[in-house]
Symmetry: C2
Subunit: 413 residues, 2 copies
């Protein structure tokens, strides 16, 4: 029943795709200053070279005491304490205290020798200039951060491959790292193909349409923390595409070509890829929908993707398939998956073909205290369906479909 | 029982905090080129000036036909069609077709006059150079994107206040927008206070600690899509802080001062704020934990925040309280909440005081097919608790606590 035409020659399942991820190494390391680190991937292990903190700090405004001096204290039976002075912030107290003694201290202040705890100012009353009464007892260690309680000296506090959030930048600050070694941001080349595609500053003639994929794919690449370089639109001629691919390969760490990965008569990507120097085609076709006509090749040690031309398909393939490869060459370790997913209730029945993974665009709606995932069913050439969508749900290979009312996980878009 | 000291003079509940958000207008508008728009907030409505697409496009590789010519076709009883030629991509076919006729067409090609549908190439067979047989019937409209099916001319396709994702950038591309009016990114000034704080390139002496809040808060501001400007560390002297606040106010759209917002003897922020020209203090204290000692003032039309000095408290107050204010002055509309939250199962009982909202740091763990939220209990001066955390859970004002096994929503960190 098939016409005499090229077929997908190596269709693989979704879970096999990620076996190729380790064929492509991270792109390299650079040193950047601390304020630039947020969102970057750490390329070195960080070992604490001091105890943090390296002195006992008060966590409250109050009085540093020996806990034992307050044992049994209550409002009806306060403990009387003799005030020896006040801790100056940022300085080491040059005296020690004993039983029955107290020193005024602010949050973050250094406890004097002899003190083991801090009684909150709210739990004390002033008797005279050198005497207070304490209305509660405090246990040794109470309202105090001990030496090394945050991190002890010699600990590995961060490991290479960690994505740096604001708290990791703060941690580097705590250890006095004014700069850090991070993985370079990979440069991803983007090529749009198709004789019907015109640039966005042109008025499309009959049968023509403006280039969308360059902009959606560049945006997705930027969101992944990589750099995008656009190589514009290439028309469907072998030499034009071949030249552009070679140009992109020489300047980039990975190349995405959208359009021309299907099996139509004029689909050139696979032919051009095959002709490039030092090419290994890993697969042509993934059993997913949308996005089946996806190609991955290794060309001159770099990942080279053929993506579907339909805007929705190209975005979904990037988000679910290409992005982990970009993150991998960005140095991100295969650590705990911090991708948060939202549970929602499916608002209608969804049929699905067995033998492939289906991605369904959904809109999230709060209705009567329930979060609903409402499928957006539309052709994969319609960008409005992606503008309306808040996320995707994935229907597994061996699932025939999902019933209305099923709890589903929504992957953000 | 309270010592003679300044008290929080205006503690408010969490839900009242956001009533102040509209006291602060968005910071202004600028025009930027299309590739820069991802992550920015649109400042204009976008109206479609053309139908998208403005011609009937094929969604498949195949033959454009009149559906009626294929009605009743099957493998045993194919319909024979006369092939009139092939559609050239990006061109308008200069002929029309009638019943029993077909024209070869690729995905994205323009249907000729007379054609109303496309039969997939897989469902046809070639008889000779000018004849094919069709093994299936297609309905009118099948495998075709109609004129205006994505967007019709004159529609408002995006509204001001929308956060631009890659798909919205793609939509702007489709309508030929080479630039867009977006809200300016607000500039947020950051000041750290405390006599015990030293810069990160210093070796802390006894009782001293490096500045962390400048880096965590700058990182959070960057993640919100705003620009951060650090004004360094100010020691606890009225004039020094007052001068620095005036400097920050003259250069920024919002100012964050961390430390010094509590009610200790040396806590100056509230005094300095009160002394600034044209100040209105909205609240001093929010019934949340951690983060109670938070101040919001309007100073010379700008939001001025006093944040707690503890690193964890400052980060949580930014994430849950300050961030929506930054987003508001960034022009983000109060649209559907796209913040995705993850449901997880609480791994232990959590007590909580009534009358305040508690934020609990949690680590997410996959164990035996269940996603667990494991509380990280630690002092709010310990940054390691934020490095370990994947998110926060919120325990409401009127809740006494949560039991192990409760389903909780996790807000990402």
């Amino acid at each position: 029943m098939m016409n005499a035409m090229k077929e997908f020659f190596n269709v693989i399942n979704l879970d096999e795709v990620f076996e190729y991820i380790h064929k492509f190494p991270p792109v390299g390391v650079e040193k950047i200053t601390l304020p630039q680190t947020v969102g970057r991937i750490l390329a070195e292990d960080i070992i604490s070279d001091i105890d943090l903190p390296d002195f006992r700090r008060s966590t409250m405004d109050g009085f540093a005491v020996q806990g034992v001096s307050t044992f049994g204290a209550s409002e009806g039976n306060p403990a009387y304490l003799s005030v020896k002075g006040a801790v100056v912030m940022g300085e080491s107290p040059d005296y020690s205290i004993g039983p029955g003694e107290a020193v005024k201290i602010s949050t973050g202040g250094m406890l004097p020798q002899g003190a083991d705890s801090v009684i909150m100012i709210e739990h004390t009353g002033k008797i005279d200039e050198t005497t207070i009464e304490a209305y509660r007892s405090v246990a040794p260690g109470q309202n105090v951060i001990e030496v090394g309680e945050d991190y002890t000296k010699g600990t590995t506090v961060l490991t290479a491959g960690t994505k740096i959030r604001p708290q990791e930048t703060g941690l580097l600050a705590a250890f006095g790292k004014t700069s850090a070694n991070v993985y370079k941001q990979p440069v991803i080349g983007i090529i749009s193909t198709g004789d019907e595609i015109v640039t966005i500053d042109e008025i499309p003639g009959p049968g023509q349409i403006r280039d969308i994929n360059t902009y959606t794919l560049s945006g997705l690449v930027q969101q992944t923390g990589a750099r995008s370089v656009s190589f514009g639109i290439v028309h469907d001629y072998f030499k034009a595409l071949s030249d552009k691919c070679n140009q992109a390969l020489s300047q980039c760490d990975m190349v995405l070509v959208s359009g021309g990965s299907s099996v139509g008569v004029r689909d050139l990507t696979i032919d051009v890829l095959t002709s490039l120097k030092d090419t290994n085609i890993f697969f042509h076709g993934i059993s997913i929908s949308p996005g089946k006509p996806t190609i991955l090749a290794k060309v001159q040690r770099k990942a080279f993707w053929g993506l579907p031309g339909h805007v929705v398909s190209a975005m979904i393939v990037y988000s679910r398939i290409v992005k982990p490869f970009v993150e991998h060459i960005s140095g991100l370790a295969q650590q705990f998956d911090r991708d948060l997913r939202t549970q929602a209730i499916l608002s209608r029945n969804l049929p699905s073909a067995q033998g492939r993974v289906d991605y369904i665009r959904v809109r999230l709606l709060h209705k009567k205290g329930t979060l609903w995932a409402e499928p957006i069913l539309g052709k994969s050439g319609l960008i409005n369906t992606m503008v309306q969508a808040d996320g995707l749900i994935e229907i597994g290979m061996n699932t025939e479909g999902l019933e209305k009312g099923t709890e589903v996980e929504v992957l953000p878009l």
